[in-house]
Symmetry: C2
Subunit: 506 residues, 2 copies
């Protein structure tokens, strides 16, 4: 069928063609079927959506990225032919039926995902089937390799390459800003890429962006890392494992992160930058991605085995993630806290201790003995601060920046303890919700500073935490939420009253 082109700039996450229902009837195609669009020598396959009014019969609407592939002029005629589903849909069906996928099947599937050949419905079925039925280690290795092969890779001229990843889920985890300069100051190459927040209050890329650029192409990233020894870049601009970004967009609304996909997601991005030695931080605890030690050990085991098959030496550190790391949550507040430690602050202790332990492991992986002692010496001597400044300068920031120069939210309010007692629990997810309501991560100055950790003694009327925001309206919204969510629960000294036996005398 010949249809006239009409453009609609809306990215549905798929390559979509909008057709009039009467043309669909004529061609025998339904919503979610596929059609081939031909223009001169170019062809693109699109997923069908239907309309009764937006188009006239005889028109075809090209949504989002569909038109870039074939580029007809507005109103030009396109040849439209119904076509079948990609083979990958059968492979998703196989996984739905709990069958093992072959290497070739996984390659085809990942290629189709990366080329956006699959619909949202099909991608959701893939994620759901993977969540339920999983993948064995052979499939996971193939999945990881296929995700690397369908994206950009970076090869460094000097090696070995050290890398670090935190599985995430714990708020306030700004240790990357400290680990990278310490490891680089020790003479090891650590080209660290990080993500932005999706559902958290601040990703490492959001924090670094407060004082430096994070968006580099592969060539520039390579140059900076090789010259300075370290970089803290945003991974999202590099097109490493693009299939992963597409899958994440479907995992997010379902609130799932299938085990095999999480493994492949982390490892593919590390393989793509040529990591030889990789340390993985697995924050474990209520409200993180890994709530139990059993699960943490399973992840550690699988990361190490997967690394072995990919030629990456992996070590894992299971860390305490049951409450925030340090006191600050939110891009500018976390940047301030991290830089103050580089400047010599000994607190918060949880950040310093975690930093030194992780840096120490990386140094030892690089053949430097007494890793933690060496890391401490690098931090306390100011060498880490010096390296941090070199990195900031290379990333286009002000190398003379001091922690107190970083602008934080102009509007703030304290949240006070209603009663005396001990802090019984801190709920990570609720704190993140409040920080996001205050404007994190988009408003850089927004976030929280907390004053009490689990087990701290609290007096009624004492501040538990301060909420910061860049505008008053968002501050009010966040404060409204604090009352609803109560993320920091103070338990009275008496946890339960057990009445004794009362005898009545008549």
């Amino acid at each position: 069928m010949k249809l006239k082109a009409k453009y609609i700039d809306m990215d549905t996450g798929e390559i979509t063609a909008l057709l009039h229902v009467s043309d669909c009837l004529e061609m025998g195609v339904h919503e979610q079927d596929r059609i081939k669009l031909k223009h001169e020598n170019e062809t693109v396959t699109a997923i069908v959506h239907t309309t009764e009014r937006y188009l006239k019969p005889g028109e075809v609407g090209l949504l989002g990225k569909a038109f870039q592939f074939i580029g007809p002029e507005l109103g030009e005629s396109l040849e439209v032919v119904p076509t079948g589903k990609p083979e990958s849909v059968e492979f998703i069906r196989k996984k739905m039926d709990d069958l093992e996928l072959s290497t070739q099947e996984i390659n085809t599937l990942v290629t189709d995902i990366s080329l956006r050949n699959l619909s949202q419905v099909e991608l959701s079925a893939y994620v759901t089937a993977l969540h339920i039925n999983g993948m064995n280690i052979r499939e996971t290795v193939d999945l990881t390799k296929a995700m690397v092969d369908t994206g950009e890779t970076i090869e460094f001229d000097r090696g070995p390459v050290f890398d670090f990843h935190s599985v995430g889920g714990v708020p306030g985890n700004k240790v990357t800003l400290l680990v990278v300069p310490i490891v680089a100051a020790a003479g090891l190459l650590i080209p660290k890429t990080s993500s932005r927040a999706i559902s958290s209050a601040a990703g490492t890329a959001d924090i670094v962006e407060v004082f430096a650029n994070v968006n580099f192409d592969a060539k520039k990233l390579k140059k900076i890392a090789e010259e300075v020894g370290g970089i803290m870049a945003w991974g999202g601009g590099l097109n490493l494992a693009p299939a992963d970004d597409i899958i994440i967009k479907v995992e997010y609304p379902l609130g799932v992160d299938p085990h095999a996909q999480l493994l492949a997601s982390v490892m593919s991005k590390k393989k793509a930058v040529g990591a030889d030695h990789l340390l993985i931080d697995i924050p474990m605890g209520q409200g993180t991605k890994v709530p139990t030690m059993e699960m943490a050990k399973q992840y550690a085991h699988d990361f190490i085995e997967l690394g072995d098959k990919l030629g990456i030496r992996v070590e894992c550190a299971v860390t305490y993630g049951g409450q925030p790391v340090g006191r600050a949550i939110g891009p500018a507040l976390e940047a301030r806290e991290a830089i103050s430690i580089l400047e010599g602050s000994k607190t918060p202790n949880s950040v310093v201790e975690k930093t030194l332990t992780l840096s120490g492991i990386l140094l030892e992986m690089g053949g430097i003995i007494r890793g933690v002692d060496n890391a401490r010496e690098i931090l306390e001597s100011g060498k880490a601060l010096q390296k941090f400044r070199e990195i900031v300068k290379a990333q286009g920031g002000n190398p003379d920046l001091k922690s107190e120069d970083i602008a934080i939210g102009k509007f703030k309010a304290d949240v006070l303890a209603k009663k005396s007692g001990y802090l019984g629990s801190i709920m990570n997810k609720q704190l993140v919700q409040i920080a996001r309501a205050a404007g994190s991560p988009k408003d850089k100055g927004a976030g929280l500073v907390i004053y009490k950790k689990v087990g701290s003694k609290v007096d009624a009327g004492e501040p538990l935490y301060t909420v910061y925001a860049d505008n008053e309206n968002k501050l009010n919204q966040a404060i409204g939420l604090t009352r609803k969510l109560e993320p920091m629960a103070v338990a009275g000294m008496v946890l339960a009253r057990m009445p004794g036996i009362t005898r009545y005398q008549s």
Copy 2:
């Protein structure tokens, strides 16, 4: 946030709002998140899609049915507020984790589906989880009841109500056109609703539409059925169990039909028309929905048990579905074949036999003894033809219609056997593909007439089947497919040659 309304008439199958990425960043919402749109006193929740160019910052695009709920004028301001996911997403997660859903959870889930509160991604996760993890009978009963409760129901003044359903998947299954007039002629009330083809060559509604109207509202359907005793209507126009229609749109692209959903789909539509006695035809064989006898028995068992819990007396008939029923496939060709039997034709035998067996069971369910004999008497005496004419007249068709009056495709071509032998197999799905390529079900005259059944002796050059089409182009396309698919395989008399032992003498 206040945004200006802009309309986009495109039905994505969800209630969708298109936002500019910068407004998303400001509000902290992502693709697939939800926002509440408020206008005067009306509120609607929509799923977020993003654009960088179709809208300017400050505008909101209202897609498909979103705007009907709140109806602002073009350019008017709407209050837009981020909001959470419906609770149902948690229940889908529970099913993904293979947990049993409570009655209340199923009610909420089905209500959200019927109100289009769930996204395509979420619906796909539901269908996939249901395919993998299934539902027990208690959940299936609740699912069915919830699907009835969220749609229209019809109550007949006279009873009991008899009904019939064929699980489908076998081409040429036009028996409803014969069963309904026979059962109605016996004095039983049979208000039959049917579907249109989705992936088959012709649904019962497509066939009946060749000679009568099929689209009635509930009131008109009730009137016709009560006056004439029977009706053959399209179920899609009645809003019975609307959640089912939404779920089917996601099952279709995945090519799945989860057991519990299939059961609930059939039974909800029967419960909605108040069926007291229900006969279910389960065509079993390669290329149908039920390939094995074991699976057929499982369906029969579950239909009967489900009926018991819903107050419907169910009987099931497992029928042979390994090849087409009768000779004709396609709306007009099937109408012709069915009416010719009402007019007295004794062939095709498979149609006559299946009709009398099924009608006989229904008559016996209605207390009429020797059901098959009675059904045969009703058919052969012309009483069935008389009742058929009454039904056609009530449905606005020509009651004097003769089978040979029905227009079939003007363009036709025979497909000949390439060699002599016996017909080894007929592939249902491939025949359907050819009929659809010829124009079925949209082109009423398009389809196939087959001359040989499995086991028939075939001479080289003899016609195996004829392809009919309403236009020459589609005929050529269908004929092209016959060569590729070879749906009817003739095996030579010698199926395999087993060479003996040869001794060489030196």
